[in-house]
Symmetry: C2
Subunit: 526 residues, 2 copies
């Protein structure tokens, strides 16, 4: 190992394995080993620190400088996996993982991935595997139906859905479609005049999509939000920004509205925003990456009210819909807009089915040519759990988040910073609790002008933020829970996102006790 030279023993080993890299019996033997490895991993997952505690560059010195020359047995590789890789994992499936948004694994999602990988088809067009395309057509209509999307987004109603890798791809594809449609109308030389609208809470991926699509970086309008409207984008403000651009001779292009923002799970008012956008011919994309999944429950469907006015909507089934990474569901009303922007028709892919125009060739709905058979895992999830259990799972996460919220409310040193919409709780240690302690010395004790949405002065803010930032560090360094943060209105908030497939009430309780204990110590030390 670790050298490109070989000796005669190695040659012997090497040739004994050389017949087929996909020998069915070897597949069976090793496949069963990994199933057991992973089942044991889930069983023991709580023994690992949730967030990896390794230092940068921990791995390079542990591994050889070059690939092994001779084959190595699976037993040895699994030993090294335990020894070298597991310590460097942040365990997203650990039930004490409350960071970012969940990356929800499930038995059905895992089985789906096994089948996808086992069949290993490259489904760029219909003929390359008709089932891959057609099952995708079917499950996207099923899922759209569960969300009560208007028929115009479904194949059965002239629209359609496609599975992409991530929301970033969905944004880039729809942005490209919108851009080309607009440039066709106004002339391609005006690309620098196109304007994109987001709020200050919109996911930063949209900015990246604009960069890649060659749009003018100066023409991304970031409309501010306030706590008064729970950080949702206000249609009136949007209108005035668009009007100013129109007055300046620019070309309003694309609005990204969000249901469930990354910082606080805020929900933009889709219907009223679409009304404004439609007036100006602006393409509306609804980014429901996280919270879209909750809209399979009737009590959350109102968050999508007015979506019939949008052009596209996407959600990440790998976040909160149990498919495992990656699986972003994108529905569009006008597939031709995507196809016009993204299609290529090379001779080498010509076939009777495509020529007949009776089939969908998904290569023309996405960035890449090659595509995995992702529909299989969404199908496995939908059938294994059914609408009923999927709703149960999501509701149980929301109940656990409510439970945590209630715990926070029992302790007046803490506050809920933004009202909870779904299964993310945004909280912090209050300025008041921190001020009571000795080291809190405002630079000047005369009353000051409000400095943030929360009525705190700049000095307050920095001391309070710093305290909460340190609390998060301590939590994450403990290895017992992993939480991440956001900053809204210049205030640092701690986010607790419930949604892990193995998470139960006891994990939420433990997290709360850990937070309280660490806060106790920090306040005592002050």
């Amino acid at each position: 190992m670790g050298t490109l030279e070989m000796n005669s023993d190695e040659i012997a080993i090497s040739f004994s394995h050389s017949l087929s890299p996909l020998d069915p019996e070897e597949f069976r033997r090793q496949g069963h080993m990994i199933v057991d490895f992973l089942a044991d991993y889930y069983q023991n997952i709580e023994q690992y620190p949730v967030r990896s505690q390794v230092e940068p560059n921990y791995l390079r010195d542990r591994l050889p400088k070059s690939a092994p020359y001779a084959p190595e047995p699976i037993e040895k590789i699994l030993q090294d996996l335990h020894k070298d890789i597991l310590p460097g994992l942040t365990h997203w499936q650990n039930p004490n993982f409350f960071a970012h948004f969940p990356s929800s694994g499930s038995v059905a999602g895992f089985l789906g991935e096994m089948l996808i990988t086992g069949f290993n088809v490259v489904g760029f067009n219909w003929i390359s595997s008709p089932a891959a395309t057609e099952l995708e057509n079917v499950v996207m209509d099923w899922f759209g139906g569960m969300l009560k999307l208007p028929g115009s987004f479904l194949f059965s109603g002239g629209g359609g859905g496609v599975l992409q890798g991530t929301t970033c791809e969905a944004m880039l594809c729809t942005l490209t479609a919108a851009r080309d449609r607009m440039l066709k109308k106004i002339g391609k030389e005006r690309i620098g005049e196109l304007v994109v609208y987001v709020s200050d809470q919109t996911h930063f991926s949209l900015q990246k999509a604009c960069q890649i699509a060659g749009l003018n970086r100066d023409n991304i309008r970031v409309v501010p939000t306030t706590i008064g409207f729970e950080f949702s984008l206000q249609p009136g403000l949007l209108r005035s920004v668009i009007e100013a651009d129109v007055a300046a001779g620019l070309a309003p292009l694309y609005l990204c509205a969000t249901v469930g923002t990354t910082s606080t799970t805020a929900a933009d008012p889709i219907g009223p925003l679409c009304e404004v956008a439609q007036e100006f011919g602006v393409w509306v994309h609804v980014d429901a990456a996280y919270a879209g999944s909750a809209c399979i429950c009737p009590e959350f469907q109102h968050f999508l009210e007015g979506v019939e006015g949008a052009n596209s909507i996407s959600l990440n089934a790998h976040k909160w819909f149990f498919t495992t990474l990656d699986c972003c569901c994108l529905w569009v009303k006008d597939p031709n807009a995507l196809i016009e922007a993204l299609s290529t028709n090379p001779e080498c892919l010509r076939n009777h089915a495509s020529d007949s125009k009776k089939v969908v060739d998904y290569k023309d709905w996405q960035i890449s040519l090659s595509r995995r058979f992702r529909a299989l895992k969404l199908w496995m999830v939908l059938r294994s759990y059914g609408v009923s259990n999927l709703r149960n799972f999501i509701r149980s996460h929301i109940k656990m988040a409510k439970h945590f919220e209630a715990l926070v409310n029992t302790d007046n040193r803490f506050e809920i910073v933004v009202p909870r919409n779904f299964a993310v709780v945004c909280f912090r240690v209050t300025p008041c609790a921190i001020k009571k302690h000795d080291n809190y010395v405002p630079a000047d004790s005369t009353p000051k002008k409000q400095d943030n949405y929360f009525g705190e002065t700049k000095d307050d803010v920095s001391v309070v933020n710093e305290f909460n930032r340190k609390l998060v560090d301590h939590i994450n360094e403990s290895g017992q829970a992993y939480l991440t943060h956001a900053v809204v209105g210049r205030v640092y908030i701690i986010r607790l996102a419930v949604g892990g497939s193995l998470t139960d009430y006891r994990h939420v309780d433990n997290a709360w006790n850990l937070i309280k204990d660490l806060t106790d110590s920090m306040l005592k030390l002050c």
Copy 2:
């Protein structure tokens, strides 16, 4: 099933399953079932027609109109998989699959995917799972070393590698990096003047990447190739095209050179092309999607000669390097060019490790934020097979292709159209064999001007092409083998691509016998 209503039985079923979607013992039970399902599938894979024989829209009527309300047992789902999905699969792992390029599965690649999916980490930045980033750094240096890439493409030499989904993404990322670097120099308003260079054999994905990146579609220069140079891009021609653009005041931007083109596996002369490109400050990307893998064998490394003059190089490990889809390896000399074009630094991802600048955050090297732990499958493949067996696998495919080539040469009704470089054989039934038969009536028997690179007139070409096209149809309709075609120099060629992980000499022999027999019948019918 098939309704969103529920009855009390369904509720009972639904709640019995509702505790955890990732119960370890249920995972173990169902995981073992799927391993056996797939091992049996590989064992029996030859019984399925290679290319699916279903008709468009075969699936929609077989499946319910909506997702099931109640959960369904895995046993029932697997029955339906057999009944409804398998007939619609084109079996890329079938050893009689010789179409396109291989999509090479392997035990190690499959195990890697199981682990990726099992851990299900979202590795956007270092802290999100340090092992995911660091193992990727290590294996990309290992693999680069096996290819004898110059040190400047490796982390150890100031460059670095990243795993993307597909070559399309690698092209789009490097194109965006090149574009932004150039526009920084010449001014962003000149985006419409940037020019991209390809040959008429370059993969069509590059054109799509240009479309997405907002480049001027009129500024893609397609340099013609000829059979005299085996369809490789000629540096002299490239120079004259670039010079004309410079003279016209345009800004030469990006050249895509290919090692192993899709139609005929032609190899562009990398060194001389880089010399021309460098003179004009053009970014050179080497697309070695298919043939790059062969360059781990010393006897093929000359195809990458001169790559030290390029800016980036990519290959698809899912094509011919046994990782399963998707796994595109991209190396760049100047990671900062990627990072400047693709980075975003939102507050919600701030962490000490990223702030320290001691770590790689791969989100800034690719289109998407979220990313799977793909390094794990490349690591599994490299260790399970070692350099020695990986070379053996590739050499065995090339030997089988040579064997097929020899068989074609034994029958003078067939000809090898373009010399074989790797494991793809380009052949056809000759005009001569077809002309001998009655139905071949040239419209005019007087000598005509050459109409294609092969010295055939237009009428010859269309009759001969049509014959070969029908032959391919017959082969693929038989279900016994699957081959695809290309058209070069207006000549229709049949491609036989060896590379399936289960393919052996007997499959190649069977394919040849099938082709001969079908040709016999077709010629008899003439």
